[in-house]
Amino acid sequence: MKTLLADALTIAGKDLRNEWKSKQTIGMMIIFSSLVILIFSFAFDPTNNTVKAIIPGLIWVITIFAGLLGLNRSFIAENENDSLTGLKVAPIDPSSIFLGKVLTNLVLVTTVQIISIPMLFLLFDYRFHGQIIWFLLIVLIATIGFIVIGTFLAALAANAKNSEMLLPVLLLPLLSPLMIAAVQATRIVLEQEGIADAISWLQLMVGYDLLFFAACFFLFEFLMEGS
């Protein structure tokens, strides 16, 4: 168990240090999320007042689409020189690869959110009403669920030749309950004072996170096994 965590940290450390050197993935994710905001502002006319009602939705649309880019990368990058096989033959538990990648992706997507969500508020001139701590909690919990299932499916999709197309097709349907919960909870917490109305959504998300984390953690082994 301890070595499992240590190995996961080693793998995440390698990926993050790499990313820190090049800043390619994170940079493109941030630019992409800004571009999505841009596209939306053309498509939906931001001066229109009703558009502010869609801010909670936009937060998650941006997170998911920018996140997809990063998730795709995380296992495709391991195809170069077939280094994933290198990890498979190393004396480590396959689950530590999963943990390591979840960690990396979590850091990447959270960083993107830290930049793109304030930008969204700014560009659409949105005034924040709710309590920031609850907002952050909801964003974090939903993001964790997204990353867990996303990383798992990215590993699955990476086996296909056209994995960059396959990933969204696999991920988006499975993500829908989380999406609904996240958008609703975000809306409630942005518009109202308390968290009371969002509690059941929060519970749903926590349940989703735990359930899928457990399932993915144990099934990941099968993804790494050769035939």
Binding site: T3, D7, T10, I11, K14, R17, N18, K21, S22, E80, N81, D82, S83, T85, G86, L87, K88, V89, A90, P91, I92, D93, P94, E221, E225, G226, S227
Partner: protein, 234 residues
Amino acid sequence: MLELKNITKVIGDKLILRNFSLTLARGESVAVIGPNGAGKSTFFKLAVGLMQPTSGEIHLNQAQIKKKSLLLQKKIGYLGHESFLYNALTPRENLVFYGKLYKVKNIEEKVANLLKEVGLHYFKDIPIRSFSRGMMQRLAIARVLLADPEYLFLDEPHTGLDQEAVSLLNRLIEERQREGIGILLISHDFEQVVSVCERVLVLNKGRIIEERQIDSEEGLMPFKNWYEAVVSGK
């Protein structure tokens, strides 16, 4: 002692290996040769745990190995068709990363020594993206040696190497063999087979069809003729 007993492997509906048995003692060096698609690489993948055999057993030092075993993986160094290295990292970083995964003690020192040994000392802080094929292969070899494996599985390690790199590789193999490491080598290059190995297995259509000692004085041509006779006629 590494033993593979009656290994059979079916992928899809294709019988790729049938009843394959092999014993590799420490300090021994064995070559596996055979035509394209004979199943050589598949046999390696089975041995290093990348695939599970359809039937048959693997024993390491008399203990049977079940499914994915960290013990087995730590004792075997596997050099595949690809290098398993990260292009964005430097040689040092690559080796340190793998060293951590293999729980190697004294990593930094060991890495420095290995890099000297394979002649990449001066390039140790340059990302390997710009390396030539030969340099990459050298680093891949260093990666395999890093964890002090007891058995080395080398799948066509000589492809694309020039003469100098080939002799470096051969020297390294011989050194390790003298230190008591068991070596398995796949190659289409019979010259290297003859100069490195003591014993040779010929694999054809998933079956071992012949096995013999190599006499290093014998020379290349007789060996080739023997191989051709074995594969075609018999």
